[in-house]
């Protein structure tokens, strides 16, 4: 796809004039501007999701929209509107075209201005959550894209290298993280969520909107920035801190994060992945299962949405990661039937291979991990002296290497599993014979199983992910059969709440 430089009107396709504003665009910006001023969130959403994409499909499939400078006269030159418009403008270029190096830098500048304005607390708009989520999501995406871009130095032109040298602050990792952190802090979102737990504030119930004439922008950008921070930390390989950034949001419940499907998927995907890397396989399986079930049920409603492709991609990635988790920690009971069927269809053979723990297994783990993992980044600034290399794969290679090392350490556990499933009691000597190892080694394998299948949570408590329960008494291994537990308590609680809801609905019915 051709890259369009917003500044040059010569060069490139003469059909694109950045300053020409077709009538339909004039109408679009005038209406959007008015809706924003009048705080009609519903209409804004229609225009943002609907009209913008329709116009893009009709007129801007292969060229950018008119520049912000060109449309400014139609919107009173409103500074904030132009920042918003420009954000959409760059997002469109990233989605449909290929951004030039200069455009990448200009987009960074735009985000700095936009977030700067929001952080100063002078914004009085109410924008749809979808839009606010997209802003944060795109911000992180462009950061990721820039890190990938500048780590590929080998074929860069002198001009491109000059740009990198000159604009060395563009998309610097400190800036990105500090903006996200600042949004979280300035919005007070953490305190808002705390107060909500104590019943002192309404946030989730109002979906983050402000019905008292105020603005939802800073609050929601702060909220979504927590998810942004989770994502950035995953890209850096710091899973623990990523999860800590999400701690204020209770993922066991519906929340504002579930209302925009993009935010729902991104949250659960990264949360699940971080748990996988932290060896908390049970948690990872539960979350992936939840999300995959949700997508199965609701994806039909998003077929027309511009995010549909992304939804499908993440869906496939999560199946791959789920297959990996279940091979390391066979807890089929945590997986819903419908998800399980899909999983078998896609990965039955591969899962059988992975559970064999030989060299072929390693290849399959490599394949699925590589497919399912995020696009890790090297955050440091490039060293622009000779020799110029491409090092954009380094971060990924490190995470993959560490993961495969972990898999290798668990290699012998498959053998143990198959034997412990058949015997209720067996001596260490006999078991060692069956596994063709000496007794001392067998004892270490049993301890390795225990260690690997029990993870520690953030408070240091031991959580079991074990699928087989056993203990050793001197020289005999005793296996205790795990009976499937019926969770009566949980069931009753849910039904009580459900019936209470039904009762109050019925009470509202007035009979004449």
């Amino acid at each position: 796809m051709a890259a369009y430089d917003a500044d040059s009107s010569a060069g490139g396709d003469l059909a694109y004039d950045p300053n020409f504003v077709p009538d339909s665009v004039k109408t679009f910006v005038v209406h959007l501007y008015r809706q924003i001023r009048e705080k009609n969130v519903y209409e804004i959403h229609q225009m943002y999701e609907g009209s913008f994409n329709r116009l893009t499909d009709r007129m801007f499939r292969e060229s950018p929209w008119p520049t912000a400078e060109a449309v400014a006269p139609y919107v009173d030159g409103d500074h904030v509107f132009c920042l918003l418009y420009r954000e959409m403008w760059f997002r469109h270029v990233y989605a449909r075209l290929t951004p030039t190096p200069k455009q990448r830098v200009e987009s960074w500048d735009n985000y700095c201005s936009l977030f700067g304005v929001v952080l100063h607390g002078v914004v009085n708009m109410q924008l749809p959550n979808q839009w606010l989520w997209d802003m944060v999501d795109e911000f992180v995406y462009q950061f990721q894209s820039y890190c990938q871009y500048r780590a590929k130095l080998k074929n860069k032109t002198e001009e491109e290298l000059q740009l990198l040298r000159h604009f060395d602050q563009a998309w610097n990792v400190y800036g990105v993280l500090n903006y996200l952190q600042a949004l979280v802090e300035k919005s007070n979102i953490i305190q808002i969520l705390e107060r909500e737990k104590e019943g002192l504030e309404q946030f989730t119930a109002l979906d983050g909107y402000d019905y008292q004439g105020g603005s939802n922008v800073l609050k929601m950008l702060g909220y979504y920035s927590m998810i942004g921070l989770l994502r950035v930390h995953c890209l850096l390989g710091d899973y623990r801190t990523g999860l800590k950034c999400m701690a204020p949001i209770d993922l066991s419940q519906q929340g504002v994060y579930t209302n925009v499907i993009g935010s729902n998927i991104s949250t659960i995907y990264h949360y699940g992945f971080a748990n996988l890397m932290l060896r908390r396989y049970g948690d990872a399986i539960r979350e992936f299962n939840k999300m995959l079930l949700y997508i199965l049920k609701y994806k039909q409603y998003h077929q027309k949405s511009p995010q549909y492709d992304q939804i499908l991609k993440k869906n496939e990635q999560m199946y791959a990661l789920l297959a990996v988790c279940l091979s390391l920690c066979p807890q089929q009971k945590l997986v819903d039937e419908n998800v399980s069927t899909q999983l078998k269809e896609k990965y039955n053979d591969k899962m059988t291979k992975m559970q064999r723990y030989d060299d072929e297994a390693s290849t399959v783990y490599d394949e699925l991990f590589s497919y399912g993992c995020p696009k890790f980044i090297t955050p440091s600034a490039p060293v622009l002296d000779e020799p110029l290399t491409n090092y954009n794969q380094e971060a990924y290679r490190l995470q993959l290497k560490m993961f495969l090392f972990e898999v290798k350490q668990q290699q012998l556990l498959a053998g143990i599993r198959s034997f412990l499933k058949i015997y209720s009691t067996i001596t260490v000597t006999k078991l060692a014979q069956f596994m063709d190892v000496d007794e001392a080694t067998l004892r270490t394998i049993l301890m390795t199983y225990k260690h690997k299948m029990h993870s520690t949570d953030n408070d240091g408590k031991i959580i079991s992910n074990a699928d087989i329960y056993f203990y050793v008494d001197d020289d005999t291994v005793h296996v205790v059969e795990a009976k499937p537990t019926k969770r009566f308590g949980d069931y009753f609680l849910r039904q009580i709440l459900k019936f209470e809801e039904m009762n109050s609905e019925l009470e509202k019915v007035q009979l004449d």
Binding site: Q181, Y239, M447, S455, F470, D474, D475, T485, L493
Partner: protein
């Protein structure tokens, strides 16, 4: 007076990490904090991850001795997974340096419960590890933890190998735990001792079953409005 000042510094560092972690200016404070953790036998994973991240952002400022110390402290935190969490943030080229290769091998032995190999390797690297006080005890605690997950009754020889103690030292260790940790000593067939470890839900699976249908207090509070 000096101690008070010291306490104040560490309080400030933890605050910094919580409030302003993405800040290149705190790098020196974080490095000092690592040394403080080593000398006063404290530990803060979050502060150390913060430092490793800063090294990731500015590789030319990385100090390999500090990284080595962080990794040793992480090893001492086992069974927590801190060691690999740190490694996720350390570039591959750095990991191939000799001292890090050694530490990775040590971690590997501990992760796979190969205690004999572990203590042999430790013996070959005394200088590296003796610089961090509390190392021996921390690993002993990890060994005891893994044994407690696995065994109801563990043969003396297995325990001896795991904690690298023999004869009198082992007897004293056993005495201490019998008195303080609920251990007991039996005789198995032959003359060797069997150490009876206290029951928990991992080495006594029947204990686990009782806990599985418990409902958390938070969930019960949801129906309080209904109950009234």
């Amino acid at each position: 007076m000096a101690k008070e000042a010291q306490q104040q510094v560490s309080y400030t560092v933890e605050e910094l990490v919580a409030v302003n972690p993405y800040n290149p200016d705190i790098l020196a404070d974080l490095e000092n904090y690592v040394n403080e953790q080593v000398s006063s036998q404290k530990y803060s994973l979050d502060a150390n991850l913060c430092l490793l991240r800063l090294y990731q952002f500015e590789p030319e400022r990385m100090s390999t001795p500090i990284v080595a110390r962080i990794l040793i402290k992480a090893l001492m935190a086992m069974p927590a997974q801190d060691f690999s969490l740190c490694l996720f943030l350390i570039p591959e080229q750095v990991q191939t340096e000799e001292q890090f290769k050694t530490l990775i091998v040590l971690s590997h032995y501990l992760e796979t419960a190969r205690f004999r190999l572990f203590w042999d390797e430790v013996a070959k690297n005394r200088s590296l590890l003796e610089s961090v006080p509390g190392f021996q005890q921390a690993i002993e605690a990890y060994a005891v933890h893994v044994l407690s997950l696995t065994y109801q009754k563990v043969p003396r020889a297995v325990l001896a190998e795991a904690i690298n103690k023999e004869g009198l030292a082992l007897d004293q260790f056993l005495e201490y735990h019998v008195a303080n940790s609920g251990w007991a000593i039996e005789k198995s067939q032959g003359r060797s001792q069997l150490i009876v470890l206290p029951p928990n839900e991992f080495n006594h699976p029947e204990l686990k079953k009782n806990a599985s249908d418990s409902v958390s207090f938070e969930h019960v509070t949801r129906i309080f409005p209904v109950l009234s």
